[in-house]
């Protein structure tokens, strides 16, 4: 049985895993780079080890070093979190070789999930429908052009190594495809050392709906409902929720069974996610399996009552999943907003620096997973996710209301965030009626509305701001008076009567 887990990650997900370790009485081992010694995951863990320089390749991606620390500290298992080494099959293999229990799928299964082309084949055999596109990797731009011509523009150019929306480009014509091919190739080489691109039909006004999966070493497989993740920017998720407004129990059963089939097809182990696209006509296409715990797992936890990290540890311990598909019922509704350090008005460009002040919301139905504290730093070396605000309600409406208030209570000083954007989205009639799609922001010109909302908010606070402004001047003058002159009244000093 697992007694000590090394968490090969940082930020909010490392903290999330530590919380479950604490409640199970399992010791946690944190690792940190030069940049992270003052981080919360270091402070909360039972033990913490320095593993290298700030750059990920020198620290959180350094497999050998992490395994060395795991062995030195006496950890018997490794939790990879998401990102970094979480979907690195070589790392999973290395752990196995060193007799460290890797909390996730086998390297073999991970390779199958990670290779979009092999995975597509496996799904075809299992009769799980996938999106039309190139049958394999496209090495030459000319080949890509042929396929695009065949299936028709617009098409998506994707990287096999992508994930979480990274490395996906929408192109409308030949010229764009040529440019995008070069750029995508470059990015992929910079990040992964090699490039492997493929082409897929672009489907308009789609929803991104995914199913949470769990599969144990005894072959028991369940899905834990869907998550709708259609509110995105640049193909990366911003807002997620469970249940989806367009998934009824019949659809949930039906697509959930496809997800279960997909998990079996790749001999999946532990918890994972089957991602689907849903068209306006109700058709679902499988896209990929994310072979790890997802960023957005808390919404599933809130509507299922499960602790998914605990479930991961149980499965890694060889236990059977302690419930059956029929025992699971969706309870209420949960919404998550990702709190990224990004400037909405600069096309979501990164925003980093010292967090001089932070207020974290709380209250009934409110959960916040975050690494933030007043005085912490948001580093440019790692991704922009500072935390997640999740609210639960008996109904969609209650969870939305609670989210709306929690967003207003969330104050972060030092970096830009999408919190104002989320308020605008949550207030929009389209969001309220569930008219979601991955192009939601563009389709409803949300950024224009955001500008309006922000000036309205400013109008509402103008009186108070003017009051604070004039009192501040008084205060300053009195300070100056006190410093400069104790005999003469400050009014005469400033030329007043």
């Amino acid at each position: 049985m697992i007694e000590k887990i090394l968490i090969a990650n940082r930020g909010e997900i490392a903290i999330r895993v530590i919380k479950t370790c604490q409640s199970l009485g399992i010791k946690s081992v944190a690792v940190y780079s030069d940049e992270d010694i003052n981080s919360r995951h270091v402070k909360m863990s039972s033990e913490a080890y320095h593993i290298g320089q700030a750059s990920s390749s020198q620290s959180y991606l350094n497999m050998e070093k992490i395994v060395e620390v795991a062995l030195k500290s006496g950890a018997d298992a490794i939790h990879p979190g998401y990102g970094f080494l979480s979907e690195n099959a070589d790392f999973a293999d290395l752990c196995e070789k060193k007799k460290l229990n890797f909390i996730g799928p086998s390297g073999k299964s991970m390779r199958l999930c990670g290779d979009k082309m092999l995975c597509k084949d496996a799904m075809a055999k299992a009769k799980v429908p996938t999106v039309p596109g190139s049958p394999g990797i496209v090495e030459e731009v000319e080949k890509a052009l042929d396929i695009a011509h065949e299936i028709g523009y617009p098409v998506l150019l994707k990287s096999v190594f992508g994930g979480g929306g990274r490395g996906i480009r929408l192109v409308h014509d030949e010229k764009e495809l040529r440019q995008a091919f070069d750029l995508a190739s470059g990015e992929s080489k910079a990040a992964f050392g090699k490039s492997a691109l493929f082409v897929e039909k672009f489907l308009p006004k789609i929803r991104h709906i995914e199913f949470q999966l769990a599969r144990d070493t005894h072959g028991n497989t369940v899905h834990i409902f869907e998550r709708e993740c259609s509110i995105q920017r640049r193909h990366q998720k911003l807002i997620e929720m469970s249940p989806s407004p367009v998934v009824d129990q019949k659809t949930r059963d039906e697509i959930g069974q496809l997800a279960v089939k997909a998990a079996i097809a790749v001999d999946y182990r532990n918890v994972g996610t089957a991602e689907f696209l849903r068209l306006d006509d109700g058709a679902f296409y499988f896209i990929e399996i994310n072979a790890r715990l997802q960023v957005e797992h808390p919404v599933t936890e809130l509507v299922s009552g499960l602790d998914l990290v605990k479930l991961q540890i149980d499965i890694a311990n060889g236990k059977e999943i302690p419930f059956k598909q029929k025992d699971l019922k969706v309870n209420g509704c949960a919404i998550e907003c990702r709190i990224n350090a990004e400037d909405t008005f600069l096309d979501f460009a990164p925003s980093t620096g010292l967090i001089s002040d932070v207020n974290i919301p709380s209250g009934p139905g409110v959960r916040v997973d975050t690494y933030l504290f007043s005085g912490c730093t948001v580093s440019p070396y790692y991704d922009s996710l500072m935390g997640k605000l999740i609210t639960w309600g008996e109904s969609f409406e209650e969870s939305r209301e609670r989210m709306r208030i929690a967003l207003s209570d969330f104050y972060i000083e030092g970096v830009e965030t999408a919190i104002p954007l989320y308020k605008t989205i949550l207030d929009s009639k389209e969001f309220i009626k569930g008219d979601l799609s991955t192009d939601f922001l563009d389709r409803f010109k949300i950024l224009d509305r955001l500008r309006e909302d922000m000036s309205k908010e400013i109008s509402e606070k103008t009186d108070a701001a003017l009051a604070a402004g004039i009192i501040h001047s008084e205060f300053l003058k009195n300070k100056i008076k006190t410093q400069k002159d104790h005999g003469v009244g400050w009014k005469s000093q400033l030329g007043m009567t």
């Binding site: 990015e187 400037d343 990164p350 790692y382 701001a465 009051a467 604070a468 402004g469 004039i470 003058k477």
Partner: protein, 180 residues
């Protein structure tokens, strides 16, 4: 602070990027913590709950507010009021006196410099000194938080100076190149 009656301080403000002039007026200081104000023509009572150099908590006509002072120069004052950021352009002779005395100066932005609006590492540079560039041309590519971001020229012109090298790290607001 002494209790004063018949007291009158007026200040004019303008919200950044807005035309309308706003005025605030201290009509009376009733006690150490209570003021009668006139804001945009309407009398309102202000009672200070807490006040430090960083911020002020107060009741304005029975509603609580918390304002933090983020920045205060001769020309601008940035506050966060109940979580909402507001920047004022200031128009008060009085205030200028205060600030001249306290030695705070404002700085001028140059039109020549192309600055980085984000922190990051320089991945590639697409121009050299002497090159002609048009507004919108990519000058260099930065990497930050695992993303590559193209930095485009803000004007037509000729590259006069390069302030960066490939592999350099740049901070927000650092000058990348100068274009004339």
């Amino acid at each position: 602070m002494e209790i004063t009656t018949g007291y009158d301080i007026k200040m004019e403000f303008k919200i950044e990027n807005q035309e309308k002039k706003l005025d605030a007026d201290i009509l009376k200081i009733s006690s150490n913590s209570e003021y009668l104000l006139k804001i945009q023509g309407k009398e309102q009572n202000l009672k200070i709950i807490n006040m430090t150099a960083e911020g002020i908590e107060f009741m304005l006509d029975n509603t609580y507010h918390f304002a933090k002072y983020l920045e205060n120069t001769t020309a601008k004052m940035t506050l966060v009021v109940d979580g909402v950021k507001i920047t004022f352009d200031k128009h008060s002779e009085l205030d200028k006196i205060v600030y001249k005395n306290s030695g705070v100066e404002s700085s001028m932005d140059s039109q020549i410099s192309l600055k980085s609006q984000i922190p990051g590492r320089v991945v590639s540079i697409n121009v050299a000194v002497g090159d002609n560039v048009k507004k919108g041309d990519v000058v260099c590519v930065l990497e930050s938080m695992k993303m590559q971001i193209s930095i485009k020229s803000h004007k037509d012109g000729v590259i006069k100076t390069m302030k960066i090298k490939q592999g350099n790290s740049v901070a927000k607001n650092d000058v990348l190149v100068e274009i004339e």
